[in-house]
């Protein structure tokens, strides 16, 4: 449909190179993430939870947006990360970074194991299997109350100050700084991953699962890899939530959390690196504001927001905006 682009020859290398260059708007975005420290010092707890949810959405984007694996059970890895970080701090020690590494490792191992199941299925079957496995894990966590505290939540989480200096404070300054730092590092990794031949192969799988092996890319192996990576990142996000709030309850494994993150990602724009971050930001700020105004009826407004976005901006906020931008440029 873009007649202007057609004559230009695009090599994969050239495409990846162009994609991996930092655009000014990206730099501006990351600088802007520091603004809450000065502009909204009383919103830093919310900002930290947005950063964590954004990280979680980013992990889902790797499998849903890039490889086309729709999961309604992604909270399983988030929850595993959260419980691991919590339990680690209770029984080993409370140093946050090591706790995060352990959380990522455990989530990664479980992700790798389940990726053998996941890579065999597509479409609705895949969605329902992820959902089923996620809910089974939640029930298991409820049953194992000797370890998880069951539905009362895990008790006795004790997280040491970050770097031995920064206590988790009431304002959420440490929480936000810590979550933002981790988010940025993981984002750099995800960005590198997506703008690599591996990332290109994933997009190929999304577009045509059957044809990829024909050009020498084993779809199953790629899916196993990316699924494991996504699980690791989700585990980190879960670990961050457990550490910054020092609470873990069964809801980290819930269907609602899995569904919410899908909604946020699609809202922001799936298959775009910033889709999850923007989606989490818009959704959570809207939810916070609406529920402040109408504690009982905010569902109406958040629902209306989703409907309006779909109608005006297909393919999410970023997808819709970039389409609008393209149309405007062509004029």
């Amino acid at each position: 449909m873009t007649t202007l682009d057609a004559p230009r020859t695009v090599t994969p290398q050239g495409y990846l190179l162009r994609q991996s260059r930092w655009r000014p708007i990206e730099v501006a975005f990351w600088l802007a993430t520091l603004l809450p420290f000065w502009l909204f010092p009383t919103y830093l707890s919310l900002a930290s939870q947005i950063a964590i949810t954004g990280l979680f959405a980013l992990s889902l984007d790797l499998i849903l947006g890039y490889a086309g694996i729709v999961s309604l059970g992604h909270a399983a890895f988030f929850g595993i990360g959260a419980y691991t970080a919590g339990i680690f701090s209770k029984f080993v020690w409370g140093e946050p970074f090591s706790g995060l590494v352990v959380a990522a490792a455990v989530a990664g191992v479980v992700g790798y194991a389940s990726s053998f199941i996941i890579s065999r299925f597509r479409h609705l079957t895949l969605i329902m299997i992820t959902l089923g496995l996620g809910l089974l894990l939640k029930e298991a966590a409820n049953s194992a109350h000797w370890l998880t505290g069951g539905s009362d939540g895990l008790q006795g989480i004790d997280i040491w100050p970050v770097l031995g200096v920064f206590n988790f404070d009431l304002y959420g300054r440490t929480a936000y700084g810590y979550a933002l730092g981790v988010l940025f590092v993981v984002f750099l990794f995800a960005r590198r991953l997506i703008n690599s031949p591996f990332g290109l192969a994933l997009r190929g799988i999304r577009e045509n699962f059957v044809r990829m092996p024909a050009i020498g890319a084993d779809s199953h192996a790629h899916i196993r890899k990316v699924y494991t990576i996504a699980a690791i990142i989700a585990g980190i996000a879960g670990g961050l939530l457990a550490q910054t709030t020092q609470t873990v309850a069964l809801e980290v494994l819930s269907f609602e959390r899995s569904a919410d993150v899908v909604v946020m990602l699609v809202l922001g724009g799936a298959g775009r690196l910033y889709g999850g971050l923007i989606g989490a930001m818009v959704y959570m700020i809207a939810r916070d504001q609406f529920s402040g105004i109408a504690p009982q009826y905010w569902y109406f407004w958040i629902g209306a927001l989703l409907v309006i976005v779909v109608m005006l901006l297909p393919n999410g906020i970023l997808g819709g905006l970039s389409a609008l931008l393209k149309r405007w440029r062509r004029r």
Binding site: F37, P41, Y43, S45, L46, D152, L170, G172, G181, L250
Partner: protein, 395 residues
């Protein structure tokens, strides 16, 4: 990146704003409840209890206006609960926290209460350990073991010798079961079997059939309020358990108004332990129910009583401190509180910061063509058995 991190954390220290409050300022109370989602109905009742109290007793205490700031936590979500509590403290500068319907949220709120040295009033969440989490947490409602241990003991003393227990398979269910079994055994009863039931997807007939196979003399049941009590009642009828022959016992959720309407005559004969019911005969309760009905068009239940008594406790404490909301002074004042509530005489146990109150034993009967809970016994001055046991082991 790390340098960036250091820099950002260092600079934000500058953003600290001093917290000052003067006597003329309003007293702000941050109420955190699940106003939306699955538990919205309970939240609404607690909130209505708060509203009614403030309507009846004015919104000024010791010369300071009371201002309520409501926050929706949306369900069981301790990270959200903690964030809301933090924001209430740092942004809205509240003087007290209150509300708390669900245990995990209440515990997260207690963390904030402890760190910020703000009193937090637990208006419903019913797990014993909550108030241990912060020296500023205090309970205006009840604990689940208070109800179930009392019921178990009463049952054993009133001719029930063998019972089967059925509880939902989650923490409150386990607490309820443990409490009942302790009370029942202490009274000389014997437990013939127990089953834990799935919390979600409630079709009770399989569990009820299991109970029926054992042909027990009595059944104790604990399930969450809402849709499940009616479903349980119907399963009893469909599986052919006659509540006139088998004593079915439970907690107040089992026979609240909407459950009774939905169950119909099946409910006749069910015995419950309860901290409050709108059928209590005292004058103060009848006035309370009349006022509540006038305001909200429905009968109050134990949630409403928790909200109402929570405000009573807050007002009482503030009167003693003359409007001073300093955490230490206020909690000290609240510990001495003693009042007569619609649910009967109440006081705070200064050692545990639990409420001490009457637990009623009631049976569903038909009065004037309507199903109601009729009081058939009561135990006064009930303390939380879990904390009681802890005290004993300490000595």
């Amino acid at each position: 990146m790390r340098r960036l991190f250091y820099a950002s954390v260092a600079t934000c220290a500058l953003a600290l704003t001093p917290v000052t409050s003067q006597a003329a300022d309003p007293i702000k109370i941050g109420v955190v409840l699940p106003y939306s989602g699955q538990f919205a109905d309970g939240a609404k009742q607690v909130d209505e209890g708060i509203k009614l109290y403030m309507k009846q007793h004015g919104d000024t205490v010791a010369g300071r206006k009371i201002e309520i700031i409501r926050k929706d936590v949306g369900g069981i979500a301790p990270p959200v609960a903690k964030r809301l509590a933090q924001e209430l403290v740092v942004r809205d500068k509240v003087d007290l926290l209150a509300g708390w319907l669900l245990t995990p949220n209440a515990i997260a709120g207690c963390d904030v209460s402890k760190e910020a040295k703000k009193v937090s009033v637990i208006m419903n969440a019913a797990t014993s350990i909550i108030v241990d989490k912060s020296p500023y947490c205090i309970r205006s409602a009840f604990t689940l073991p208070m109800v179930t241990t009392t019921l178990g003991h009463w049952a054993a003393k009133n001719g029930v010798k063998k019972a089967y227990t059925m509880v939902s398979d989650y923490a409150p269910g386990h607490d309820a079961e443990k409490g009942f079994i302790e009370g029942f055994k202490a009274g000389g009863g014997e437990i013939v079997g127990s089953v834990h039931m799935a919390v979600a997807n409630p079709d009770f007939s399989a569990y009820v059939q299991r109970a029926k196979d054992l042909n027990p003399e009595a059944i104790f049941v604990f399930i969450p309020g809402g849709a499940q009590p009616a479903a349980f009642g119907k399963a009893l009828a469909e599986r052919g358990i006659d509540t006139k022959k088998v004593k079915v016992m439970g907690t107040q959720e089992l026979t609240d108004d909407s459950a009774l309407t939905n169950m119909g005559d099946t409910a006749l004969g069910i015995i419950t332990g309860s901290p409050y019911d709108h059928n209590l005969k005292s004058k103060i309760n009848q006035d309370f129910v009349a006022a509540y009905r006038k305001e909200f068009g429905a009968n109050p239940n134990f949630f409403s009583a928790g909200g109402y008594d929570g405000m009573t406790l807050i007002y009482a404490g503030l009167k003693l401190t003359k409007g001073d909301t300093d955490g230490d002074k206020l909690i000290a004042a609240m510990k001495t509180a003693k009042w007569t509530s619609p649910r009967g005489p109440m006081m705070i146990d200064p050692k545990t910061r639990d409420a001490v109150e009457t637990i009623y034993i009631q049976r569903v009967e038909k009065v004037g063509g309507k199903l109601v809970n009729v009081e058939i016994g009561k135990v006064e001055n009930v303390r939380d058995p879990v904390h009681e046991a802890m005290m004993k082991t300490k000595k």
